[in-house]
């Protein structure tokens, strides 16, 4: 009697462990497949120029500095165009909506959206949820890659002193 009971308990534990294993494997499989098609990659303007033409269906993020004097409102009154640059290459970004609080010319910005066939980037979201003298790390890195980091850094330091 006691033996069969122990056996039953063992079997039950086996079931539980098996169920947990299957669930974990399922979750891992799901996570991996989901990563393949729902992850958004970050590109600097130089990388976009390198890789173009980019499939318009692919969601991506672009980041760099907003070039001074390029922010302009379009005819319809709500679309804004601006140029994002890493000092080597530049991409025009179009965005319909209210720009975030800390969006400034000459400051770092990250935009999420897709490339349109004519080479402008259509942003569905512009992120600038950061401090006024803070550079998003991706942008800082892409500026370092294009070799203009010191220059920007010096300019920001100058602005801080004023």
């Amino acid at each position: 009697m006691s033996l069969s009971r122990a056996k039953a308990r063992k079997r039950q534990r086996m079931y539980i462990i098996g169920a947990v294993m299957i669930a974990v494997a399922g979750a891992a499989a799901l996570a991996l497949t989901a990563f393949e098609d729902s992850v958004v990659f970050f590109f600097s303007p130089s990388e976009i120029v390198e890789k173009s033409p980019i499939d318009p269906d692919q969601r991506l993020r672009i980041g760099g500095l907003v070039e001074e004097g390029t922010v302009s409102k379009q005819q319809d009154g709500k679309t804004v165009n601006f140029v994002v640059t890493d000092m080597a290459e530049s991409i025009t970004v179009a965005y319909a909506g209210i720009l975030p609080d800390l969006f400034r010319e000459g400051q770092g910005v990250v935009a999420e959206g897709h490339m349109s066939p004519n080479g402008t980037f259509v942003a569905s979201e512009v992120l600038a949820k950061h401090d006024e003298n803070y550079m998003p790390p991706e942008v800082a890195e892409s500026l370092k890659k294009s070799g203009h980091w010191e220059e920007i850094e010096a300019k920001n330091a100058e602005q801080m002193r004023n």
């Binding site: 039953a8 308990r9 039950q12 534990r13 079931y15 539980i16 169920a19 947990v20 669930a23 974990v24 399922g26 979750a27 799901l30 996570a31 989901a34 990563f35 729902s38 992850v39 958004v40 990659f41 970050f42 993020r61 409102k73 009154g77 709500k78 319909a96 909506g97 209210i98 720009l99 975030p100 609080d101 800390l102 990250v110 999420e112 992120l127 600038a128 949820k129 950061h130 401090d131 006024e132 003298n133 803070y134 998003p136 790390p137 991706e138 890195e141």
Partner: protein
């Protein structure tokens, strides 16, 4: 001077926490034994060393009463120190002193403290200067220490009360309690060390700046500040759960008494973390820059993960208390909830992950936090690994039973937590491995979490009516008949009414209907179909008990939350236009009239306040005032949306810059059923509070007799 006082108090917390850890730990027993061996001579020493191997059994036959005069004897060693309450109270008082010193430095704007100079300014309003003490890394750590000290004291009071009652198993109980207090002492020590090493809030600079840098305008928000106490009190509750679990593992006492000790803590931590999530959601909703109420941000995920595990724990603990099964799973959850809560704090404080971190000024290092995490939890998991396979389950349960339903649900909840954790740290891993920058956003979480949520919600519908131990499928079918029919009607109605709807929100609405109808029909059955007790029907309401009421309220709250969330995502209407004064904007069933912008002065900002009059059926309902605030200290603007909570949806209005044609850019969103989201969250929180408040109430009324 005051700051030095606080600094000293923080150092004393470290010392006191460490002495609490030592005083209640088994090490003290060993020392006591050696002392006893030396003083009583070889004969006693042999007896004591014979006892030492058998651990808890050794004192069981002896008199368990506490005798202060029997110092050094093995009996006394198992009894708790008589000054059990004193040390936790001392730590709490020290924590209060340190916190008060920090707040005082903020109130008087002592800019020789870099923490004050970095985030405060002489023009910051008093309320936000006090709040600023919580939102920097150092201040938050200090708040965490204080919250843990508070939880420590309350826990000591709880077990002190219990241990003062005569109990036959007092020795195991005392050892278990002493261990838990010792581990809490270790946690407090580690937290105090981390605060001192990583982000010491009381450091001084030789030359004080003339004025501070000012608060980040985005943090100057009451909700942002209120979130912190809720979060850290919740984490303190998880710390007690952790301590009790590890102690239970050490003495192999994961049983009914263990579950009863945990009960208020699990509920409290669940409630407070839920409160922090709700506050966070409403805050990002009311900030125009973010707009959505759930962003899958690192800060949000690091709240959600421990909350999900706490939810799983609420259910497992109930199973453990009722049937003494799922022992090692409950222990695992108890350790993991605190581990992931701690890890979440690490993720938010070290600016590793957030693509757009909050602040440059506070990106200090959090290495000590990570090291403390590794040391504490590798020890805990090692203990778990060693002890868990020795804890044989006493009883078995059938595949169709309430235990099994609760177990499957808690496994699913922890899987969801794991998926969110993977999604949160995956970008970091990828950046280390091949330097690529990626973002994991809502699409990932929706596709991965959906397959877990669907069975979870399905089981949630009928798990509460399952019987313990063993149940039959056909019986469930009979009980769930009404709910199944009603939810089928809801799905049919919605799918016919909105024929072009995609299946995803339809599933959400259907499942919400399923939970709602099954909860309500079960409540109905309990209230009216129970045999009459010869008394009024009101007796049936009393018989439900606080646990059932709290569970039903929380389940219904979740159903309402999901229904509101799916509906507002589908039927959202957004209008972006350039409006001139007097122009009227049609959105949903509402009509907004733009009245223009006026320039006003705030406490430490200037604001351009737009005025809108909201009409429904050409009757004015309310005035809405979205603002653009300019904070001169930091030279930045923030945009505050204004929200109208109507009976069929929220109207969310925000204003932007002046446009080229002389109008002003206005974004109006109509989110149908959005009040359901907030109502559902509040209902869940009420559900949690019912469970805690009735317990407190009954305890007071029955004068110290545990009410459960």
């Amino acid at each position: 001077m005051i700051a030095e006082f606080g600094h000293f108090a923080l150092l004393l917390i470290l010392v006191a926490g460490f002495s609490q850890a030592l005083l209640f730990s088994p090490i003290r027993l060993t020392v006591g034994r050696i002392a006893a061996a030396l003083s009583f001579g070889p004969k006693t020493a042999a007896a004591v060393s014979g006892n030492a191997g058998t651990g808890t059994v050794s004192g069981a036959g002896l008199d368990a009463d506490e005798h202060p005069d029997m110092a050094g004897s093995p009996v006394e060693a198992y009894a708790l120190p008589s000054n059990m309450i004193a040390l936790p109270v001392v730590i709490l008082v020290l924590g209060l002193i340190a916190q008060a010193a920090l707040i005082q430095s903020f109130i008087v704007s002592d800019f020789s403290l870099p923490i004050v100079a970095g985030i405060s300014h002489s023009s910051t309003p008093l309320l936000f200067r006090v709040g600023a003490a919580f939102i920097t890394d150092g201040g938050a750590m200090l708040l965490w220490v204080l919250a843990t000290a508070l939880a420590n004291t309350v826990f000591a009071l709880q077990v002190f009360r219990r241990s003062s009652q005569p109990d036959t198993s007092a020795i195991v109980q005392n050892q278990f309690t002493a261990n838990a207090l010792s581990i809490l002492g270790i946690v407090i020590t580690v937290l105090a060390v981390v605060t001192l090493v990583d982000a010491d809030p009381f450091l001084r600079e030789a030359v004080a700046p003339l004025d501070g840098r000012g608060m980040n305008p985005q943090s100057q928000d009451m909700l942002r500040i209120l979130r912190e106490p809720a979060l850290y009190l919740g984490l303190a509750g998880l710390a007690v759960i952790f301590a009790v679990t590890v102690s239970g593992l050490a003495v192999r006492k994961i049983d009914r008494g263990f579950a009863e000790t945990l009960r208020p803590w699990v509920m409290g931590a669940w409630l407070l973390l839920g409160l922090a999530i709700a506050i966070n959601a409403y805050r990002s909703y009311s900030q125009q820059a973010w707009g959505t109420w759930w962003y899958w941000d690192t800060a949000e995920n690091s709240l959600l993960i421990p909350w999900l595990l706490a939810t799983a724990l609420v259910h497992c603990r109930a199973v453990l208390e009722k049937t003494e099964t799922l022992k090692s799973w409950t222990a695992f959850l108890g350790i993991s909830a605190f581990a992931l809560g701690w890890f979440g704090v690490y993720l938010t404080q070290s600016d590793l992950l957030s693509p757009l971190p909050k602040m440059l000024t506070q990106s200090g290092n959090s290495t000590a936090l990570l090291i403390g995490f590794c040391v504490l939890f590798s020890a805990a998991y090692f203990l778990f690994w060693r002890q868990s396979d020795r804890m044989a389950e006493q009883k078995a349960f059938g595949f169709v039973s309430r235990e099994s339903g609760m177990f499957v649900n808690s496994v699913t909840l922890s899987l969801m937590a794991a998926v969110i954790l993977i999604g949160t740290i995956y970008p970091l891993v990828l950046r280390w491995v091949d330097g690529e920058h990626i973002t994991v956003g809502a699409p990932f979480y929706v596709t991965t979490l959906l397959p877990a949520i669907l069975p979870l919600m399905f089981i949630m519908g009928f798990a509460p009516v399952l019987r313990w131990r063993q149940d039959e499928l056909w019986l469930i079918g009979r009980r769930m008949k009404l709910a199944a029919i009603l939810s089928a009607i809801i799905i049919l109605f919605v799918s016919i009414r909105f024929i072009e709807l995609s299946p995803l929100p339809l599933i959400g609405l259907g499942l919400a209907g399923w939970i709602l109808t099954s909860s309500v029909s079960d409540l109905w059955a309990r209230l009216w179909h129970q045999p009459d007790h010869g008394e009024s029907k009101y007796r049936n309401l009393q018989l439900l008990g606080p646990r059932y009421i709290s569970m039903t309220l929380s389940h219904i709250g979740l159903a309402i939350l999901i229904a509101g969330g799916s509906a507002s995502a589908v039927w959202e209407e957004q209008v972006v236009l350039s409006a001139r004064a007097g122009q009227s904007i049609q959105v949903g069933p509402y009509n907004l009239q733009y009245e223009g912008v006026s320039l006003l002065a705030g406490e430490n900002y200037a604001t351009r306040q737009a005025t809108f009059i909201l009409y429904r059926n050409s009757l004015p309902l309310e005035e809405l005032f979205p603002e653009i605030r300019y904070y001169p200290i930091r030279g930045t603007e923030t945009r505050e949306a204004d929200i109208f909570h109507g009976r069929d949806g929220d109207v969310h209005v925000s204003v932007g810059d002046r446009s080229e044609d002389g109008g002003r850019i206005v974004t109006v969103r109509f989110l149908p059923m959005m009040p359901w989201v907030w109502g559902g969250m509040i209902l869940m929180l009420i559900g949690g509070s019912v469970s805690i408040l009735t317990r407190i109430f009954l305890r007071i009324r029955k004068n110290g007799v545990p009410a459960s």
